[in-house]
């Protein structure tokens, strides 16, 4: 799934969800910075992570809860620079979500694809 467009690849992993807003935005910040450095960047949302991508959440909360910038701002900052967002079916099930409940553009992968991305990345950074 990595393209050959960049020499450097970073895979971020977000495991935290809406129950811990303070942990929601940093992976998007770092991913945006990495993309600005012309790295190829993906964020994989697993465990509670997919809840951050809910359509009914992204305009409601941000890292400071209901104060300050909302998640959509941080998400679009990253995706606007080419960062790709990945989830897996099992973590959708865990949170009783369907792909349609999430914002557009999220890509579905599975465990094998995740592991393949991880071993071929230059860095895997997990939150």
């Amino acid at each position: 799934m990595w393209t050959d467009e960049s020499e450097t690849r970073i895979l971020y992993v977000q495991t935290h969800g809406i129950a811990d807003p303070g942990r929601s935005a940093t992976p998007f910040f770092l991913a945006a910075s990495a993309a600005a450095m012309e790295f190829e960047v993906m964020i994989y949302f697993t465990m509670y992570g997919p809840t951050l991508l809910r359509r009914d959440v992204v305009d409601r909360i941000g890292p400071k809860g209901e104060q300050g910038q909302r998640l959509r701002y941080f998400i679009e900052q990253a995706t606007g620079l080419g960062v790709r967002l990945l989830i897996c079916q099992m973590s959708l099930d865990l949170n009783d979500l369907r792909l349609d409940d999430l914002i557009d553009g999220v890509e579905m992968i599975g465990g094998a694809a995740f592991n393949d991305l991880a071993v071929s990345a230059d860095a895997v950074i997990s939150f």
């Binding site: 450097t8 910040f29 770092l30 945006a32 910075s33 993309a35 600005a36 450095m37 012309e38 790295f39 900052q77 620079l81």
Partner: protein, 106 residues
């Protein structure tokens, strides 16, 4: 804000003495700046993100001057320039504002 020593310039800068007497010259106009990007008041990662977008709008060889107050901008822009292959011509700090000159290389 704490008082910090002024960062040294990272590269050569054309001497101000080359300008003619009477010219209206701001500190930032040496060397010739093609575009100024004002990121004062913006926090990480916006200066990096906006610089990455702005530099792509310049032609190769043109110079971008980034103005930023984010306290981490100096190591950030050194890392960014080195990774993207653009030339960081110099960093200076005037009052609370970092002035960062970057020449688009590729």
């Amino acid at each position: 804000m704490s008082v910090r020593p002024k960062p040294e310039f990272g590269g050569e800068r054309t001497s101000r003495s080359e300008t003619q007497k009477g010219d209206v010259v701001s500190e930032s106009s040496v060397p010739v700046v093609d575009q100024v990007l004002d990121c004062t008041g913006l926090a990480c990662p916006l200066p990096v993100v906006k610089t990455a977008k702005a530099i792509k709008k310049l032609a190769q060889g043109q110079v971008l001057e980034l103005l930023a107050t984010d306290p981490g901008v100096e190591p950030d822009m050194r890392a960014w320039s080195s990774r993207t292959g653009n030339d960081l011509l110099g960093i200076s700090k005037q009052a609370d504002v970092f002035h960062i000159l970057i020449r688009r290389v590729k």
